[in-house]
Amino acid sequence: MKILVAVKRVIDYNVQIRVKEDGSGVVTDNVKMSTNPPDDNAIEEAVKIKESGKATEIIAVTVGEEKAQETVRKALAVGADRGIHIKVDGTIEPLAVSKILKKIVEKENPDLVFMGKQAIDDDCNQTGQMLAAHLNWPQATFASKIEVNDKSLQVTREVDEGLETIEVNTPAIVTCDLRLNEPRYASLPNIMKAKKKPIEQINASDLGVDTNPRIEHIKIEEPPKRKAGIKVASVEELVQKLKNEAKVI
């Protein structure tokens, strides 16, 4: 079984986002970048499946600018076997990413494609479902548990009401929730070894996919600030304020 895992480079989840004054976007210069957190869970799950003997190869793929390669390298350091970097400059929307990934799937023929359920930059939550649609494959989104069977997966999904379990035949797409597993850290020897693993580079323009944005970003602005609150000295004061000032209880 072959598993393709898609990863995305985003602003690190600990960074306090700053909006550019001209309204054109957020500040990314000299800002720490990392792998999108649930993509780490996707890699981890693939590695665990390979360790259990049920998968033979893990390919990490990313779509993005030159430096996006770092996320593939990190995936290689925790257990992916080889990488693919599809180079594209500027903004690329989930629809175009999903079309690019379709091309890669057609070339590599994986049995499973894993990725995070949502990227923490644009918060779109689209790519996995879109890829499943293009391939006409089943989709198991927001996975918090995956059981690999012979020709199918049993996936527990985190839904608003609680947990839902579905069975999907392979090949299938799974988008991963943060609770799926605990991603491991790469050891130093593995980081060194990863430097020798191959990363194939492909230009998005060579894949024949239209990557022009369909959505115009007219303005990026800071959200309205909350008025500064107060500290209360005691529980009695808190309850009085809620009752008589805020009038919410």
């Binding site: 957020v26 629809l95 996995g128 879109m130 089943p138 839904v159 999907v168 529980v235 809620l242 209880i249």
Partner: protein
């Protein structure tokens, strides 16, 4: 052209977020049709037809739709999508799972999780966990939109009398099978729509200690929330999680107890009307969004809070 909203339901009742999405959809175009895909869901069709903002209900009734499977829903929607300028649903786990599949097959770049309709092609949506707001214009001819339900009022549910039109089912996907759903039944208000939410974090230290939260929730008729840390630690189940990757809540009163206030948690609650933070660490980031902060040990403060509430003559429900 009309707009098409996909209803979420359980074959008995309309899910509340569909009513918020109806309000948003009607701001895009008043000629709003609602598609109901279900099995023996005539009661749902009837209640949707009574929503005054709804002009027509398209009802697809077939046993293959007894459980919600995105693959099957998508096929049904695509069969009837061509007459519509916009296809819309709520941005909860239902709509997040469904809409991109529809959008991809229509070759549309979806606009996710909008919080405001500026015009039929321009919308406001939060990005970076709500740390920036983007005004975006969709240049696709047809649009696929998901709506952040808590940013729109719920539509009125009585007084309307829309036609109910029965339409055809589509083929069933052979590759996805519903196994089960563990729904936690509760008499409390739903987290997404509750007037008051009280949430616990890692500071609670154990699942048993969440009783301190539930006692106050009972008194205030509040829903119970949690930070991701509390869910990950196993103190409480996942459907209580508030935050960037959990639920977004906008109650009149949000009480955060033992929650430090990571960016990802704030993303799910900072639009609440009044925020209370109880935390023993005076430097915790949660205080920066709190209207009323109480620097105290929650194990002392919560029982006192309940005691003070008990002294009140009346409590709004």
């Amino acid at each position: 052209m009309s707009v098409l909203l996909i209803a979420e339901h359980n074959n008995k009742d309309v899910k509340p977020f569909t009513l918020n999405a109806i309000t948003a959809a009607s701001q895009i175009d008043q000629d709003l049709h609602v598609m109901l895909i279900g099995s023996k869901a005539d009661d749902v069709a009837k209640s949707l037809s009574e929503v005054p903002l709804v002009k027509k209900v398209l009802h697809i009734d077939h046993e293959i739709y007894e459980n919600y499977i995105a693959e099957n829903y998508t096929a049904a929607i695509l069969k009837h999508a061509d007459k519509y300028s916009h296809i819309i649903c709520s941005a909860n786990t239902f709509g997040k799972n469904l809409m991109p599949r529809v959008a991809a097959l229509l070759d549309i770049s979806q606009v996710s999780d909008i919080i405001k309709v500026i015009s039929p092609d321009t919308f406001l949506r939060p990005i970076y966990a709500g740390n920036a707001f983007a005004t975006v214009k969709s240049n696709d001819e047809k649009k696929c939109i998901t709506i952040r339900p808590t940013s729109f009022e719920a539509a009125e549910t009585t007084g309307g009398s829309a036609d109910i039109e029965k339409i055809d089912a589509a083929d069933q996907s052979e590759n996805t099978k519903f196994i089960n759903r563990e729904e936690i039944k509760s008499d409390r208000p739903e987290l997404g729509t509750a007037r008051i939410v009280i949430s616990g974090g890692r500071g609670l230290q154990s699942g048993e200690n969440f009783k301190l939260i539930t006692d106050v929730a009972d008194k205030l008729n509040a829903a119970i929330g949690a930070s991701r840390a509390a869910v990950d630690a196993g103190y409480i189940t996942n459907e209580h999680q508030v935050g960037q990757t959990g639920k977004v809540v906008v109650p009149d009163l949000y009480i955060a107890v033992g929650i430090s206030g990571a960016i990802q948690h704030l993303a799910g609650m900072k639009e609440s009307k009044v925020i209370v933070a109880i935390n023993k660490d005076g430097e915790a980031p949660i205080f920066s969004v709190a209207d009323y902060g109480l620097e105290a040990d929650l194990f002392e403060a919560l029982p006192q809070f309940l005691e003070e509430l008990n002294k009140l003559n009346t409590i709004q429900k």
